[in-house]
Amino acid sequence: MPVLVLPILLALACAPLAYLAGRWRTGAAAWAGASCAMAALVALCWELMQGPARLVLPWAPTWGLSLEFTRDGLSGLYAAMALLVGALVVVYSRAYMPHHLAKEGRPARDEVRFHVLLLSFMAAMVLLVTVDDLLLLFVALDLTTIVSYLLIGFDREDPESRAAALLSLVLTGATSVVFFAGAMALGLQYDTFSLPLVFERAANDPPSTGALVCLAVGALGKSAQVPFHFWLPRAMAAPTPVSSYLHSAAMVAAGVFLLQRLYPLFAPAVAVRDGLLAIGLLSMTVGSLMALVADPFKRVLAYSTIAQYGYALVLVALGSEGAPLYVAAHAPCKAALFLTAGAITQVTGKKKLSEVGGLRHSLPVLAGASAVGAAGLAALPLTVGFFKDEVFFHALAQRGPAFMVAGLVGAGLTLAYTLRFWWGLFGGPRQDAPAAPRLLVAPVVVLAASVFVGGLLPGLLVAPSRAAASASMVHGGASSLELAYHLDARAENLLAVGAWVLGAALFATRRAWTPGLTRLVEGGSNFGPAHGYRLLLHQLDRLSTWLHEKEVRDLRDRVASVLVPTGLLGMTVLWVTPLRDRFIPGTVDWADVTLVMALAFASAAALATLRARNHLMLVLLISCVGFSLAMVFAFAAAPDVALTSVLVETTFTLLFAGLLALLPSRRLERAQQEAQKPRGRDRISAGIAGASAFLLSWSALSHLQADRVGTQTVKLAEVAHSPNVVAAVLTDFRGLDTVGEMSVVLAALLGVTSLLKLNAKGKG
């Protein structure tokens, strides 16, 4: 048993553990989940000490599919970030959610649901960063998308929150499908989905630009970069802990993480990297400008996230070693600020910067801790944020003066909006507010302390960020990243000082430029991609309504809409397959009489359905067809198939009859009358479907070769200790299919229960 999976298993165990604890006592869920997350973090750190490793579990080796996990610096850094921030946010939610739920008028038990979802998200994130396989990467990416949908739409009574959840699902889901297309293209090109193998083969045979663009689009959608950025501010409709986690340490980081993980593919493609660079700079500008004028404080932070991940994208596109460090340094700062915003909303009930201010007297600890977080975000010295800007300036300084100016302006804007945010909350004339609960402040203090310690002792960060950088670089070459304070006139220091001056000047003159910038930003948002999205959604809605109305006019149309395309497809298959002696009329001798009798019975029952006068009769006639087929199996000496089909037929006939009893009789009568109105096009669709089924079965039966599969299967069944061939096929040869099918059965069961429950509720 390889130890590599221990942190992953612990992370996966968090959500079920929280659920069980929540069943016992609502308040215990958060503590159980958070301590399990901390255990996972400890396990992770302990394992990272032992150096990089990989774990390969063969899945379907003949197809080159396997479950592959990796333990390297990059996965370690991101997993540690997700686990640490996740645990703190869960603890914070313990204090935040009861208040929030009470305000929304929902039962306190929903808190458990919240913790479970948040911890599931954490597990999906840990999975995403530790897998080393393109397909699994996609699966984990979609897991994060689905859970984030549930989290953003947690206040399901609130239409705005539902719309925001749908928007983020559509955008990140659609872009992750594009990512999947890119992953498939790579998989087909290199004949494997295992990332190290892909990287190895890509060194000789570079991937196509199309595939790279597809992968990049998936990552950009997750990271909320410019053409897709508008889902992030809308997602602020979620409860604050969700924003704090998804939009600082997890969901948005996943996009940049993907680019770093796949960097060896992007490294030689200079054109794609230049495109990413342009998008990163654009996101920086757009996000910063919007953050400068936004009023609700969560929005300020959301725009700031867009801008900050723009920086990270620039770093990735420049191939800088500092990219993982940048994301990791940004996460605690941003999480601390988000949690501050949530605490203030809870204490004062206000959500906008223009409504609060002067809170530093009533909330001194929160003000101090969030000041450290803000200083980290604005890259002031003595915080870990200083180094994130240092690596940023270092990378830009190597590219030339134009890039240095862009970096200077970007960092200046960051300082300006961070000052505006903090001052807007805590500065200005004194206002009084009730004290914040200790549990709301403690996580902010812990995050601020980590920001501060990282800034005082940068040496602690060197080893992990070097490991992360070398894992994401080409060929895993050693990284020469160094972090220290230098008191000299090097370019990074000059740029940093310039940025502080610019930021302070912008902040001081804010009254002069705010109105103009507000008009500009508002004008821009009317023509932006958000508008295009609304139009597209509207048109898609119309298309689907039109199709729906065509399809469901009545039952016969609905059946025909399935059967006719299937029939046409079957005919096409027969038309294009070059089979000789396609249709052989067989011989019938005396031994087959019983079979013919059973088949005659089946056809008689099928014909009788045409004249059936009520629904119960129809059900019975159809079951007659089924039973006579069971008879065929019995005659053909397949007793197990016959047994199964008799039992299944009985069950379904009875359930069908039960279902009929549920339907209102008036509706049944109306359906009966409608179904017997003669209609010309029914004959055509029936003809197509029937002819296709008939020809396909005839063609298939003409090519039966008894010795082809059957004998081999029988032989193998003996070897597999299961003389019952059907059982052997079901459990052994095609066992994985059975698992899949049974999951579908269970999903159907859930569907039936919830539908019938709705029905019962509607009546009661």
């Binding site: 048993m1 579990l57 359930l655 200790h721 459990t731 052994d732 066992g735 049974m742 269970l746 019938l756």
Partner: protein, 147 residues
Amino acid sequence: MRSFVPPLSRVLLWPSLMIALSLWMKGGGQVGGGFPAGALAGLAVLLQYVVAGREQARRYVAVRYAALLAGVGLLLLVGTAFLPVLAGYTPVSLFPRPGQPELGAGAFHLHTALVFEGGLMLIVYGLVVTVIDRFALSTARGEDDVP
């Protein structure tokens, strides 16, 4: 004439379940298997619903928690399929492996396939019984509405 039907149906429940269990047990060697076993057990419960009504049928624990049993079945199925992965085998590796000595006597084979089939049985049983139960619940509500 009617009077002997309800007691008879109650008596029939246990033999039917025994037969279902035996179908499951000998599925590896002879006619049987998890799928028909689950369907048969479901039918036995269906008889209780038809004859004795929902209240009476729900006296049995296995009827009240049928949906949960389906979940347990899926866990068994997934467990048998994927636990071997942790030990380095391909998914759905059944033990004893081909070639290893066989355990069991007569029609009864001791084999991890038995667990797998057990999962199948529970899922099918859970599906049938839950759907019956929901139908019975809805019809009962529907009849209450009629004055």
